[in-house]
């Protein structure tokens, strides 16, 4: 069964369609980049899957059942800018929030949860920052805390919203290592990404999206100049046709 099956999903904000009739199925164990211009509905797609924005029509299934029934199989990394990092809490506490979905009502995280959270911090190289107040972390460190929180969710499908935005080179490398490790464990990871230059290097599958889906498949088949032009329209320029390295003219 496919980790993610979406058919005919349409999402509208104030009658303005943001996603139109998107249909795709993602096979298990792939690293998938969701790529498209600003306003293409990449984040909206993730939010619709996670039930954070209402869909106007269409069905969304995670391993054959509704998201509601499969919450525990899904991990989520929101955009770093979506929360207030001045909130009075420390890194370990944020990572522990990844356990909340497993703990249930009226209970506190226990020793086992703390252990899982510390392991997750260790995996992203942040163990020594466990007790650090989150506002005192750099942007890259905050992003890694978010990743650790998703790891603590102990999921099989992960959705990550722009994890590479505004991070340092060390964090970018750490994230990539982590994504590959998740893939090696047979997990499926969907990542909203906007740096076209790294798509080929990072993702084995690519989903090109601009309100409507343009293409989905193995990156070497899908990530073509032709498809990119369809996705980005006139905003795309090519540095070097030979190496096929596109970039976006903003």
């Amino acid at each position: 069964m496919n980790p993610v099956d979406i058919s005919n999903v349409t999402v509208a904000y104030d009658r303005k369609p943001v996603l139109q009739e998107v249909t795709f199925s993602v096979p298990e164990g792939k690293l998938i980049g969701i790529v498209g211009p600003n306003g293409a509905g990449k984040s909206t797609l993730i939010k619709a899957i996670l039930g954070l924005v209402p869909t106007a029509s269409g069905t969304i299934n995670i391993y054959g059942k509704s998201y509601r029934a499969q919450r525990k199989l899904v991990g989520y990394v929101p955009q770093r800018g979506s929360v207030d990092w001045d909130f009075p809490t420390n890194a370990l506490d944020v990572v522990l929030m990844g356990r909340y979905g497993h703990i249930g009502w009226f209970k506190r995280p226990g020793k086992k949860d703390t252990q899982i959270a510390l392991q997750a911090l260790d995996k992203v190289g942040m163990k020594e920052y466990a007790n650090r107040q989150i506002s005192q972390l750099s942007g890259g460190q905050q992003q890694r805390v978010f990743l650790a929180r998703a790891l603590a969710q102990d999921a099989t499908v992960y959705f990550m919203d722009e994890p590479f935005v505004g991070v340092d080179a060390a964090t970018e490398k750490a994230i990539i290592a982590l994504l590959n490790e998740l893939k090696a464990q047979g997990k499926t990871v969907l990542v909203v990404h906007h740096d076209l230059q790294t798509v080929k290097e990072y993702f084995d599958w690519t989903f090109l999206l601009n309100k409507r889906q343009v293409a989905l498949g193995p990156t070497e088949e899908v990530f073509t100049i032709d498809n990119l032009q369809k996705t980005y329209g006139g905003r795309l320029a090519f540095l070097d046709q030979q190496v096929n390295q596109p970039f976006v003219q903003q």
Binding site: K47, L50, G51, L52, R68, R71, V74, Y76, P78, S82, V83, D84, F87, P88, T89, N90, V94, M97, Y100, G101, I103, W105, F106, R108, P109, Q133, S135, R149, Q153
Partner: protein, 294 residues
């Protein structure tokens, strides 16, 4: 217990209850919603009286709870349908409050309440309005009401601590993992409503906002831990109540007024002196940075 001791106890209970609930309002950036609810509960109180013909605490709590939730709900509705959120708060709270004032003046003969009392409170009279069951005098009824509300607040926060925490910090994540964020929002709004109405008699609608917001805002400057923030805020609430009482005695001024003023003074001092987030701390940090680079 002496007259003064009852007033101090009443003020302290207001301080603890408001201080704790207020922290969550600060963290969720909803201070103005508290301002709105503190005024609209007047309508709840008047309606509760007109329905029940009694000024007993339980009716007041229910009436205020319902109107408080209605306030939060209407603000939410206007906000999501395109009205700016501060304008939404302004429209809803003045309308409901005005309706409460009209009802109050229309039935002024029947209701043992007046607008002045509702706005400013009268903590001085608290000790005389006692709760008597089977002929046994059990102390001021305001103390009982505040005590019950405090216990209720603490129980709810204890039970839903992690849900409140995650939905305040990261509502999207909270929703994604199945935490009922909307329920938690209205739970907090109910707590604000009943805390406000329980504090009403003592400090009134305007000053209760000071007790809700100022201790939490002060505690926010002093710590990086949520639990510690709640404790500091409760402590500042009590300190304002006790300090305010003695200041009022010394200068023969309004007790509720000086309680709120003391809270303001504590905030001012913290804002300047706090090592972490205060002005002084920032100046010192800037100096040490420029010293390193010169």
């Amino acid at each position: 217990m002496s007259y003064g001791a009852w007033i101090i106890l009443t003020g302290s209970l207001v301080g603890v209850s408001c201080g704790i609930v207020g922290c969550f309002l600060i963290l969720r950036k909803m201070a103005m919603l508290a301002d709105a609810i503190s005024h609209t509960v007047l309508l709840g109180i008047v309606l509760a009286y007109l329905v029940s013909h009694s000024l007993e605490g339980i009716y007041m709590l229910v009436g205020a709870g319902i109107i408080g939730l209605l306030t939060a709900f209407l603000v939410q509705v206007l906000d999501t349908s395109g009205v700016q959120s501060d304008a939404a708060i302004g429209v809803v709270f003045t309308s409901l409050f005005a309706f409460g004032v009209i009802l109050l003046s229309a039935f002024a003969g029947q209701v043992h309440l007046d607008v002045n009392h509702a706005l400013m409170g009268e903590i001085t009279f608290i000790p005389w309005d006692t709760l008597t069951i089977n002929g046994i005098e059990l102390g001021p009824s305001a103390v009982w009401m505040l005590g019950i509300v405090l216990i209720l607040n603490l129980t709810l926060i204890f039970l839903f601590y992690k849900e409140i925490k995650i939905s305040s910090f990261d509502p999207a994540m909270a929703t994604a993992i199945g935490i009922p964020v909307v329920f938690i929002h209205y739970l907090l709004m109910s707590m604000v409503s009943i805390t406000t109405v329980a504090s009403f008699d003592s400090v009134g609608a305007i000053l209760v906002v000071a007790m809700l917001i100022v201790p939490g805002a002060t505690a926010y400057l002093l710590t990086d831990r949520l639990l510690i923030m709640l404790l500091i805020s409760a402590f500042i609430g009590v300190a304002s109540a006790v300090g305010g009482y003695y200041a009022a005695l010394a200068w023969n001024v309004s007790i509720a007024g000086s309680m709120a003023s003391i809270a303001g003074l504590i905030f001012g001092a913290t804002f300047i002196l706090s090592p972490k987030h205060g002005l002084m701390g920032k100046v010192l940090a800037r100096r040490s940075i420029s010293a390193q680079h010169s």
